[in-house]
Symmetry: C2
Subunit: 622 residues, 2 copies
């Protein structure tokens, strides 16, 4: 092809027809990200005819008697201008390479969504910024008032499906591309007075009242995408390391009776039978009422302490049950001292079953025991699903329904589980930094500017590993600060203690292991010292405890002894003890509260903002 | 490097040291698949020192006074021989390329697991086949009786962690490699009399009584790995197509009162208050008792029909409620005719809340409504989680707790959802065929020899798409077969009808769409004919309905009309109706019962064998 190059060079080139835009696979329109997330912001698609859809994020009206092109957009419009962050967002693709220079300018413009005007007498153009959820960037559509009245299109939240031609933006500087609508295939109107998102600058706390709408805000949509990314990242980590995903049961019979905080499951037909607690009162003869009352004070203190620490459900359950029994004992002794008559009933019967299940059924608080049975066959397993607690706690990290990631590994000891937990968090942090960058960047402007740094730092820092005993020593030496809960060996570390260790002392993630046995679940492996167990907590800057793990007790005699000590109902654990009787294996694992991982990655402070439909004490709206 | 090549060629080559075997990342041993799944079956690792662990799948004892090497294994041992499928399995890696020639020979040897002998007087070697869950193939370990007595090691299910050296097999022809144990780091003994898997050829139905042990059988382990594969394949499909994963709530307030089959959630403390049904009895004055009694007969028939069809929970709920009201009406009329007095109460109050939630809380039967709210913001979304029904049905496909995949797409219509459902099933079938081949191959020998063909055929066949009306026409013309439920337009298709269409008539997957509106949920979009709705079912050979989907009703007036017609409680749906009032969008989606997908892929017949811990009517064991 060396012949006559000059000739060809000088020939007028035909304008190349733009490549057709890919349709969304399962709807007859073009996803906005197909246009907006291109390197050129969509510029190469000029003159393409497309159908696009989405919800109006902001809008303004432009009167046609003002010159549309050239000059600044504000001057050009003549109509009312909506200064909103979505307009800023629309610049991102075009300026991706210099994105960082924008800095925090937009951080304080917070969702200033302005809306609608009455229909003007003069012809006008509705300038709409829409989003279809596929891109964080908004897309501009120009709709002539002869096609649809601005009053119908401009309210925030209006849904439109528009056909038209892509063109260079009519208003300089705002967008790389826009659509000149020729036909509206669908309009889903909005009743502004009753649409919660019509209001300007709605704080996250207010958005909790409309969980069915809030993903339409860029902030909540970004959170949900980061959440989706964390989900994918978690599966990727475990699958890449040969773990088998197992669906552990949600409805379970294995639960500690003493718990005051579990949900019971029944069919609505049989929602009637009162449940009676088993009350066993042996050895009550030789105890004085005074001794018992003193003991109640002590035991109440312990329960409160455990409740604050949020670390050990079984220990709490045992303490609650213990207190309950002691209270009953006191009541009985008191009654006896009054009536001088012997108490009649020693043990009341338990009412079980509800007609559907023939024994009592609960919503699971943890899939860990069931996972152990799978690990004792398949090796490495993990579960990802909802878990439940009926505590009326007011913690920013607590929900009645939460999603957990749980894992269990056969032939594995405490150190292995700690290493796996650290690798897991690093892998997930890396993954979301890489794959959810745009959403994280947006959240760093809107919610917490440190999130990207924190994710990167977590991924590259070697976690500090210290024993509980070391942690107590460090905290005991603190002089410049007074902790609400005084520290001494045996006390459960509170959020305040943990925060001091990671945020102020070590200044990095800390794994605290070898806790006093009374602070950890019944099935954690007893260490040789006889007083600590092979459990660990991973404490992360800003969010606190994110992962709790342990090596499980594989020795039958130790496990049965512990079940007895804690007053758990052995017959509920027969199947679990079987695992120790038949081919027992050393194994360890951990659980991560997925919702708290979302807090960490997004910088949010309250878990109610981090889950799609939070469930907590009070009225459920949907 | 062309100098003196001959010299180098003639020099004696040092035996290359075998490459070290990778340790399992989170335990200090070598995963068996690292050895067994190599192309050479592990042969290249001879002389390596390794630690391996696992559970004994079969065993035999070999007396040392017989020559160990050469000749047939059976002759060589002199001890008792266990002919079991795991021995066959052990040949697979070595003979992978000619695997198909083995054909069905092993299909009828079913888990003949033999066990233990008393300790012999003479020195002997325990020959153990172990599995650690990482590979479908067993691994052979030789343990001299001086290290541990055979009586302790040989019971099926014994867990061992052994250190030793890899060597060529002492017994010709059985394995590519074996371990000569030098040290046992752990033995988890088995009490044979109480270990359910000690028994030979345990059928799957019997294994349901020991869900905590059954993944130790190769069959159940394979099922769980295919299940894991389907999970991964599903996430992969949706993520590749830009769907956002959303965790829809398990505890919900949105449920149809008329349902007889939902679970109620309460805290155990408040498990007391009887719930009273709302009974509204208007227009009772002018109806005769006889008319009402006739109507009860009709309505009972309809309920039974809907129950059999398993297709439409809302229609069933409406029918049940309708019947319930009619019964109440009859009772009232009867009472009135006796006492001649007017009924006092028109409407009784509902008892709501349980102290934790201030209104009634249920376990969700479907995440579809909540997904719609997310789709109306994010575009394409999907959910993967547990769903609940309290039916006491005896179907092989029914469980009280089941895992579902649900998806919803904005700007999408019926056809889009049908295409997506078809692509989804094809993609998933392809994925598991490629990634779970060994487990599928094993299951094809043990459970159903057609599974690989069925998966491949599903992936390559264009599904037949017919309307409900066409389906009824086809079924009406059938003369060589009598259906239990007589077919006519308006009747719900039963499993028998569906099976005829896919297995005998079309001989491929069939999508049946445009069903009568009374057979489908209240929120399916009404077609222009006013009597059918934009719903579809995907019927697959052998398993029947696997996916149900629809385009949702986006028009407020149609939806409110339908809610009224079916007697649903409008106030429970306020938030859902909001989605139609504020920026409504056309949208469609579908749900797939994940557990039934496992039936399809594994060839199993009963869903209780396809989930790790089945939950159905009766006692829950764990």
């Amino acid at each position: 092809m060396s012949s006559a190059p000059h000739l060809f060079d000088e020939m007028p080139k035909p304008t190349p027809a733009p490549m057709p835009v890919d349709l969304s696979k399962y709807s007859k329109r073009v996803l906005l990200k197909t246009i907006l997330d291109r390197g050129d912001g969509g510029l190469g698609l000029v003159d393409q005819r497309v159908v696009v859809g989405g919800w109006v994020k902001s809008s303004r009206e432009m009167r046609k008697d003002h010159p549309p092109a050239g000059g600044d957009a504000k001057e050009a419009t003549g109509g009312k201008d909506v200064k909103c962050v979505e307009v800023f967002q629309s610049r991102i693709p075009f300026l991706r390479t210099i994105i960082k220079v924008f800095g925090g300018n937009t951080a304080h413009t917070k969702e200033k969504l302005e809306s609608v005007l009455p229909k003007p007498a003069t012809p006008s153009i509705s300038v709409l910024q829409i989003s279809d959820g596929s891109s964080i960037i908004s897309f501009q559509i120009m709709v002539d008032s002869s096609i649809a009245p601005p009053s119908q299109l401009m309210p925030i939240g209006t849904c439109i499906l528009a056909e038209g031609v892509l063109q260079k933006p009519s208003l300089q500087g705002k967008h790389a591309i826009e659509l000149k609508a020729e036909k509206l295939l669908h309009i889903g109107i909005v009743d502004q007075d009753n649409y919660p998102l019509s209001k300007k600058s709605l704080p996250l706390a207010r958005l909790r009242d409309c969980t069915h709408f809030r993903p339409r805000t860029t902030t909540v949509a970004s959170v949900m995408k980061v959440r989706n990314g964390l989900n994918q990242a978690s599966h990727t980590f475990f699958q890449n390391h040969g773990f088998i995903h197992v669906e552990v049961p949600i409805i379970t019979a294995t639960n500690t009776e003493g718990f005051s905080d579990i949900f019971q499951v029944s069919t609505s037909k049989s929602f009637a039978k009162e449940q009676k607690k088993e009350v066993s009162m042996d050895d009550t003869e030789n105890i004085s009422l005074e001794t018992v009352k003193l003991s109640i004070v002590e035991k109440s203190k312990k329960v409160e302490e455990l409740k604050r620490s949020d670390s050990n459900k079984e220990a709490l359950a045992a303490a609650v049950q213990d207190l309950h029994k002691t209270n009953l004992l006191a009541a009985e002794l008191e009654a006896r001292s009054k009536s001088k008559s012997k108490s009649k009933s020693k043990t009341e019967s338990i009412k079980t079953g509800d007609g559907f299940f023939s024994n009592q059924a609960f919503l699971t608080t943890s899939g860990s025991l069931h996972l152990e049975s799978c690990a004792s066959a398949l090796g490495n397993v993990y579960a990802f699903g909802p878990r439940f607690q009926a505590d009326k706690s007011e913690s920013r990290k607590y929900l009645a329904e939460k999603w957990m990631i749980e894992t269990e590994m056969a032939f594995s000891e405490l150190e292995d589980a700690m290493n796996c937990a650290e690798d897991f968090l690093k892998s997930v942090s890396n993954w979301v930094s890489e794959n959810c960058y745009e959403n994280l960047y947006f959240l760093s402007k809107r919610v917490d500017k440190t999130i990207l740094d924190r994710l990167n730092s977590l991924a590259s820092t070697v976690f500090e590993k210290i024993t509980y005993t070391t942690a107590v020593e460090v905290l005991s030496k603190v002089t410049d600060k007074t902790f609400e809960t005084k520290i001494h060996w045996g006390v459960a570390l509170t959020e305040e203690h943990e925060s001091y260790l990671v945020d102020e002392f070590y200044k990095k993630p800390v794994i605290i292991y070898d806790h006093p046995k009374d602070l950890k679940p019944f099935n954690v492996r007893l260490n040789d010292d006889g007083k600590t167990v092979a459990a660990f907590d991973v404490i992360i800057p800003k969010v606190g405890a994110l992962i709790r793990g342990s090596q499980k007790e594989e020795r039958l005699n130790h496990l049965t002894k512990r079940i007895k000590e804690l007053g758990l109902k052995k017959d509920q654990y027969e199947w679990y003890l079987d695992l120790r009787k038949q081919g027992t294996v050393k194994h360890s694992g951990f659980n991560a509260t997925f919702d708290v991982m979302v807090l960490f990655a997004t910088g949010l402070n309250d878990v109610r903002d981090a889950v799609p439909f939070p469930r907590h004490n009070g009225k459920i709206h949907n």
